[in-house]
């Protein structure tokens, strides 16, 4: 286990290094750099000034040197400065993280609370009408773009309450905040709940075919005892891995949903920064997302080994 942990950790660092190189190079091959855009918007035409700005931003240096400067700064907690607001990148990014974290947590809770029970019902009553309806529902959940679902919800709010729960000012109380995030969290979570439900169903079906379930049935255990006591506990193991998958899945949903609901989180900020070619923000945000995804998957892998005594990693 110890050796496996070290090796897995090493691979994680290698992956993050690879991502940093790819993102950095991708952003540098972008046609039309920030200086051109700044120039266009400010109406400046003096080439000497352009060279000066490029020098100030360090864009005249060779790419490897620019990369080394970025990584060197990262190690010291210096993320550089936003090109657009000219504030330190960390000051722009940090306050937006809790917003997205709360939204993601609510969406995750929603997806598990909906997905697991319906997945179990669907598996226990395999091939019944309920199973068919739930399977079609979960497939439709996977098919709806979350931004459209968000827009439909807003439409419903307008029709019934005459108003939309769109983020306009920071919520005053925790309760207001929860209410404000409920709709976007449901929009993102619905899609993920479909994923959780499908995995719970197939995992449950797998377990229900095992010999020990037949033994439990033949010794006279009640149906609910077999389903919930014997089967569900083991079926939940693979579902834990879903949380690793979900990290990536949720972030994709959050990007569009934060845009729809005008929520000032990191996901919407990434889109804004990409549009304005604000490299320091984009590269740090993408790195942040990669770290979250990779670390969550690492933790899930470890958790899996702890939860399932049959898994013992060697070397």
């Amino acid at each position: 286990m110890g050796a496996y942990l070290v090796r897995r950790f090493g691979l994680m660092l290698l992956t993050l290094f690879g991502i940093s190189v790819i993102i950095f190079v991708l952003l540098r091959v972008v046609p039309g750099n920030i200086v051109d855009i700044l120039f266009d918007s400010a109406g400046m035409v003096n080439p000497a000034e352009k060279v000066k700005i490029e020098k100030e931003l360090g864009l005249d240096l060779p790419i490897p040197q620019q990369y080394a400067a970025w990584i060197g700064g990262l190690v010291h907690g210096d993320l550089g400065y936003s090109y657009v607001s000219e504030k330190p990148a960390i000051a722009e990014i940090a306050p937006r993280i809790p917003v997205t974290a709360k939204l993601a947590a609510m969406a995750l809770a929603f997806s598990v609370l909906i997905g697991v029970p319906f997945g179990v019902i669907s598996a226990v009553r395999q091939n019944s009408a309920a199973d068919y309806v739930l399977r079609v529902l979960s497939l439709s959940g996977l098919s709806l773009p979350s931004f459209w679902l968000g827009l439909l919800m807003l439409m419903g709010f307008v029709a019934w309450f005459g108003d939309m729960p769109i983020y306009t000012e920071p919520p005053a109380t925790l309760w207001d905040e929860l209410l404000l995030y409920a709709a976007p969290a449901a929009a993102v979570g619905f899609r993920s709940s479909a994923l959780v439900m499908r995995l719970t169903r197939s995992s449950m079906l797998e377990v229900l075919r095992q010999d020990y379930i037949r033994t439990a049935r033949s010794k006279g255990a009640s149906a609910s005892s077999v389903n919930y006591h014997h089967a569900l506990r083991n079926a939940m193991l693979p579902v834990v891995t879903v949380i690793g998958l979900e990290a990536a899945f949720l972030i994709g949903g959050l990007i569009v949903t934060e845009t729809v609901f005008n929520i000032p989180g990191v996901a919407r900020f990434l889109v804004e920064a990409i549009r304005t070619r604000d490299y320091p923000i984009v590269q740090n945000l993408v790195m942040f997302i990669a770290v979250v995804v990779v670390v969550v998957n690492f933790i899930v892998d470890m958790l899996y080994a702890v939860l399932d005594p049959r898994i013992r990693y060697s070397g």
């Binding site: 991502i19 827009l151 797998e206 994709g252 990007i255």
Partner: protein
């Protein structure tokens, strides 16, 4: 091993599935949801192919008098703020959506098959490097990687296809690789080696055909993801540029304003996206049941 012997399986099951008609009828009875998916997909493909014949207006022609017109007999699904007919734009939008979906899935599969086959068959350091690169690509969410790539390449149809195809590679490569690893150990590969066949030829003629079934299952699943990603990219303004009628673009951010004034602008394009992705998902599930019996449940 994968059983693609669909016909013999049918006979064994005692199904009266003789001839093309009988087989189709059997498919409809056995996989009603898959059949619905196939019908949905067929409708969209036909709409894309014959868009010129089933629309009365150009998807690009603007008319100030029709700005934000509600659905009517002349304009079934209404018109957008530039007075463009929504029905025509949705029908022509099927071309964009399917072109990007099929194009990026095809490109992603082709690249994924090459990576998976080479890495599984050659092994060694080639495999090691390929696996690490796949790790890197997989560590970023599909939409984030596509977003950065689309922004780096600039908005255009081909760039969108390319930007979506790259994040699809790892999933394909992983499955093809593990399949190749299993197949490599089998007797027929040894036999091919014994008669002096070149490694490249064995990989292409013996290994590849045996990975087709899982590839089809995976590609159908990726098709839905690719179409959704195109819609998201275009929704965020980083995919298909104006004036092309992309469903995601039609729903772009100003949609939040139209919720009160012109809900048809929000409802119909989203319905088109959901329906086509729903079709691929239904079809994908049925194909998985047929081609990959291990997953049957």
């Amino acid at each position: 091993m994968h059983s693609t012997e669909y016909d013999s399986e049918l006979v064994k099951a005692g199904a009266s599935a003789q001839g093309a008609f009988g087989q189709t009828a059997y498919f409809l009875r056995r996989y009603p949801l898959g059949a619905i998916g196939a019908v949905i997909m067929a409708l969209f493909v036909l709409a894309a192919l014959f868009a010129d014949f089933i629309t009365a207006y150009s998807p690009l022609s603007t008319d100030a008098a029709l700005s934000l017109a509600a659905p009517s007999r002349a304009h079934w699904l209404g018109a957008d703020y530039m007075g463009r007919d929504i029905y025509s734009r949705i029908v022509y939008g099927a071309r964009i959506s399917l072109a990007v979906g099929l194009g990026s899935t095809g490109l992603g599969c082709a690249l994924g098959v090459v990576v998976g086959l080479v890495s599984g068959y050659l092994g060694g350091w080639v495999d090691l490097i390929a696996q690490r690169v796949m790790d890197i690509l997989q560590a970023l969410p599909l939409l984030v990687l596509a977003l950065v790539m689309a922004a780096a390449l600039g908005p255009s149809l081909w760039n969108t296809i390319f930007a979506i195809s790259i994040p699809l590679i790892p999933a394909i490569a992983r499955v093809i690789r593990s399949n190749t690893l299993a197949l490599r150990e089998l007797a027929f590969v040894e036999a091919a080696q014994a008669i002096g066949m070149s490694e490249l030829r064995i990989a292409a003629r013996h290994i590849l055909p045996n990975t087709v079934a899982p590839l089809i299952v995976l590609a159908t699943a990726q098709l839905g993801a690719a179409i959704l990603t195109e819609a998201s990219l275009s929704f965020l303004g980083l995919g298909i540029p104006e004036p092309h009628p992309s469903w995601g673009r039609m729903l772009s951010e100003s949609a939040a304003e139209y919720i009160r004034t012109a809900p048809w602008l929000v409802i119909f394009p989203g319905l088109a996206i959901s329906l086509v992705v729903f079709g691929t998902n239904l079809l994908g599930d049925a194909l998985r049941d047929i081609l990959d019996p291990r997953e049957r449940g």
